[in-house]
Symmetry: C2
């Protein structure tokens, strides 16, 4: 429904809202910028997600964030007022581990990332190293081929606040071996803003490693459709699935690629001004429907 | 001459070599990968450059390396056996300072780079900060708008072995102001190889900052033609200028863009295999002539 143009749900009639709510069985929601920003729930989001659950929808939290394991994400969601189980969390840290295990990977991972990915890898029995600060002493010029671990068979790049020149050097050097896999969690340029300080996203690090390795990463997070393939094995019906997000170039593009319905909320990265620009540029895809914030849906259903 | 296809100078007749040597008055040579690798001269390169000088050619050392000031580059060249004066060194550190001074820049530079750029900026009276390790304590999430210096009017990105997440964050946050200039020394993906260890080049950092700032840098180094504009004010005749390099996508592309003759040597980044690929892909541009190493020209002239 509402396929002809971006539709502000607030302008829908009560019947249209009811029809919309009946049009999906599964809700996939992005987290940062839709449900919360940093450690604060966006007002109304917990109630809206819990309302979907009450209506009998299956819920999945689909996040490109790779800094936490699934159980920690579930705890964070619960503390902010969301009903959430670890099995409902599809974080990129989990997806990386699931992907590598799925292809029968048995070598070591050089990980440019955090313990979120490290712990998920460990949970499926995949060895890894690289988390935390790295220093090549006395300086990067002293690094030699004997410093490289010959057992490494994949470089994984996720969010890493300890990114450094030696890490770029090691990642590029492992990737010089064509048999070494190159997997990235996501390519988000930035995190949703909470002030004039820009928080660079994992895409900043992925583009850097792609540049010095002269290779392209396999990206498992949105807008890549790996999540759809993953969920289809659990019986997901794309046509009766709603993807909720705050970014047209990840969440909405992901939803459109996967054949889902899409809802954009304006509490994160994509602003009303951006949406206007996207409408003119015709790229990335536009959402089916928009809402100022996710919680607004509750006002529409009670009216 | 030799315009129809890539010509191996070693296959030229003595008359053709003589004609080639008479076809240019000015020699621009890249440094890393052509004249030296790390701190070792490539055998024959000092003698070849000094031979050009003896023939009365004007010599310029054109390097995308931004880690040294001009006088230090000249000392390095001299120690490796090259005749060289600081005024003949066109390094990107110098070009950044020359560019900013030329446009009347009076604000502060946030510098993701090394003392090479810092000292060149200082020499022209431009204030800067950012060189060396950076730590936002206790972590990046604690950085606030009050940590930003309102006097910053440009972000300059060069080679920085102390690159870190806080540096990306600061660069992107300054660049969120559209009036803030974004200048990069160069976009080289890697340094020339001396082992299986890949040494990421400045392009790795520039692409990262471009990603998180969602802006494109003004790049002053090769293949940008800023060097040609700079030299034309000194009376350079492009048609009688030879550009020597080891990389098709910087040195040779730069030479072709500027209307120079071009000579590729195989002692650095671009390999014979790469050259074959470039010949098929038709991008980046091919050189007019090739030599296995620069010093080989001496054998051709004495034969």
């Amino acid at each position: 429904m509402f396929k002809s143009a971006v539709f502000n749900l607030q302008e829908a009639t009560p019947d249209q809202v009811k029809e919309f709510l009946n049009s999906f069985d599964t809700v996939l929601s992005d987290c940062d910028g839709v449900l919360w920003i940093n450690n604060n729930a966006i007002p109304g989001s917990p109630e809206a997600m819990n309302y979907f659950r009450k209506l009998g929808k299956r819920i999945f939290y689909v996040t490109n964030n790779s800094t936490k394991i699934r159980s920690d994400f579930a705890v964070k969601a619960q503390e902010l007022g969301f009903i959430a189980e670890p099995e409902e969390i599809l974080s990129t840290a989990y997806l990386v581990a699931h992907y590598l295990k799925g292809i029968g990977f048995t070598k070591k991972v050089y990980l440019v990332g955090s313990n979120g990915i490290g712990d998920e890898l460990k949970a499926v029995g995949i060895r890894h190293f690289g988390v935390g600060p790295d220093q090549v002493k006395p300086d990067f010029k002293s690094m030699s081929p004997s410093d490289m671990d010959p057992e490494v068979g994949a470089v994984v790049v996720g969010f890493d606040e300890h990114i450094s020149y030696p890490k770029f050097m090691k990642a590029a050097s492992y990737l010089a071996n064509e048999d070494c896999l190159f997997v990235a969690t996501n390519t988000d340029e930035r995190f949703p803003k909470s002030s004039s300080i820009i928080i660079p996203g994992t895409g900043t690090l992925v583009r850097a490693v792609e540049t010095c390795s002269e290779r392209k990463a396999l990206v498992l997070g949105k807008p890549n459709d790996y999540v759809r393939k993953f969920l289809e094995s659990f019986g997901l019906d794309p046509a009766r699935t709603l993807m909720i997000g705050d970014r047209c170039n990840t969440d909405i593009e992901f939803g459109v690629r996967c054949g889902f319905q899409t809802l954009l909320v304006m509490t994160g990265v994509t602003s009303a001004k951006d949406l206007e620009k996207i409408r003119n540029d015709k790229t990335p895809p536009l959402p089916d429907v928009v809402l100022p914030k996710l919680g607004d849906i509750l006002n529409l259903t009670s009216s």
